[in-house]
């Protein structure tokens, strides 16, 4: 192998490594970590409202139509948040601190977003639920979306 060939190979390899590094750095670690925090806040809000509905469904708190409608509408809004600002590529489990996101979120983006749509549709259907039994029935559909999404797109606890 000539010196020229060796130098050329080295140059190509180095350029490749630098390009890869630059790609990985295209979002700073802080931006990715902030996105994870924002998602956790979104999930916290979802479970908070699910808790209000669950308490009513189980009879732990009295039925209150205004509370049911507010919780359901907020759930629909949370499920409808546009994914682009929240689910930054690279903010996955094992790469970004605190994340439990699986890479399938990006490799199967349509499937992932479909689960949020199901949750949103379930929440809108909950608006106007007339009694605790109707709230419980509506929770079944929403819970199925939570479970299906967490089954396919969320990793185990860190």
């Amino acid at each position: 192998m000539t010196l020229f060939t060796k130098t050329a190979i080295t140059a190509v390899l180095s350029a490749g490594i630098i390009a890869t590094a630059a790609f990985a750095e295209s979002h700073s670690d802080k931006a990715l970590e902030d996105a994870v925090k924002a998602r956790h806040a979104q999930m916290q809000m979802i479970s908070y409202h699910m808790g209000i509905l669950g308490g009513i469904a189980k009879g732990e708190t009295p039925y209150d139509s205004a509370m049911v409608d507010a919780a359901a509408q907020n759930m629909a809004a949370l499920a409808g948040m546009a994914p682009a600002s929240m689910w930054l590529e690279g903010s996955e489990q094992g790469f970004t601190e605190g994340s439990r996101a699986k890479t399938e979120i990006w490799s199967d983006a349509a499937g992932f977003e479909a689960q949020f749509e199901k949750l949103g549709a379930g929440a809108l259907a909950m608006v106007g639920a007339a009694d605790a039994a109707a709230v419980g029935a509506g929770m079944g559909a929403m819970g199925a979306a939570c479970k299906a999404c967490h089954e396919a797109y969320r990793g185990p606890k860190n």
Partner: protein, 292 residues
């Protein structure tokens, strides 16, 4: 040849012969469930409680009764692929009941080969003969599928199946983990947890040889695929009440309205189909585990 060397050689031959005998697949020559009329409805319950479809149904298939196999189980020893166990000839179609019994209880195939313990026969070894007979009847009533076997991706030395014989000497056929005087509900809970739902396979840590560390029973473990942690489900680790456990097994909601996910989602799908008394029995068993 010196006399000492001759003796050493003789000892080595005897030891190797002994090891060969001890590690041989050991099916029990049994007449299983003689005179028992199989109850496929109980067989379906056993199938659900034992979580067979979670690994043996084709990945991403909505129909959990087509047991085509193919699900990948990642481990530090390699990747195992769940085989076809449908009622077709590629599955268990040609198996007799004693062969089926030996697969579940002894981890031995009808062809006299050791199964890798990715198939949780260390749990199933405690299944009763009648439940196995009912399960056999139910599974043979399910559809056949012609998906061929996919070879496991396991490197040396773990690809030597005879080594599993030695592994079994260490880890197969142990007593129940929870012992002592148990009431009927606790006995049922123990059967469901230790022998059916095989909770310990993920929730108990393993030693260097891949055997369960029973001193750390259900106290949580690293995820074998590398990322994250399988939770501690003893009372000290989880801190849930009986009704909270039963709610989780039914709807998948945790006490703070997070939801079940990952491979546990399929487990909850199964537990939700069991009678409520079985979910309560599992909760009673978990709550009786030693603290700390």
């Amino acid at each position: 040849m010196k006399r000492g060397i001759k003796i050493l050689l003789a000892c080595a031959v005897v030891a190797a012969g002994g090891a060969w005998v001890l590690t041989a697949p050991a099916p029990e020559p049994v007449l299983v469930a003689q005179g028992h009329t199989a109850d496929p409805a109980n067989g379906e319950l056993i199938f659900t409680a034992a979580g067979c479809a979670s690994c043996h149904a084709a990945p991403n298939s909505q129909d959990k009764t087509i047991l085509a196999g193919g699900y990948a189980i990642e481990s530090p020893f390699g990747t195992f692929y769940a085989p076809n166990i449908s009622s077709g000839p590629e599955g268990i179609g040609g198996w007799s009941l004693p062969e089926f019994y030996n697969a579940l209880r002894n981890g031995v195939s009808p062809y006299g080969q050791h199964y890798y313990p990715a198939f949780p026969y260390t749990a199933y070894s405690g299944m009763t003969e009648l439940d196995i007979a009912d399960l056999y009847a139910y599974m043979r009533s399910l559809p056949g599928d012609s998906t061929p076997l996919r070879a496991h991706d396991v490197g040396f030395p773990f690809n030597i199946r005879r080594g599993i014989g030695a592994w079994k000497l260490l880890y197969l056929k142990q007593d129940a983990v929870v012992s002592g005087e148990l009431n009927a509900e606790m006995q049922r809970g123990r059967y469901l947890v230790e022998n059916m739902s095989h909770c310990g396979e993920c929730h108990t840590p393993r030693d260097a040889l891949g055997g369960l560390d029973r001193d750390q029973w259900l106290k949580g473990a690293p995820n074998p695929s590398g990322k994250g942690q399988i939770p501690d489900i003893t009372p000290a680790g989880l801190g849930w009440s009986e009704s909270e456990l039963v709610e989780y097994f039914t709807s998948g909601f945790t006490p703070d309205y997070d939801s079940v996910g990952g491979s546990m989602a399929a487990v909850v799908d199964n537990l939700a189909k069991l009678p409520a008394s079985d979910r309560e029995a599992i909760a009673a068993y978990l709550l009786a585990l030693p603290a700390g």
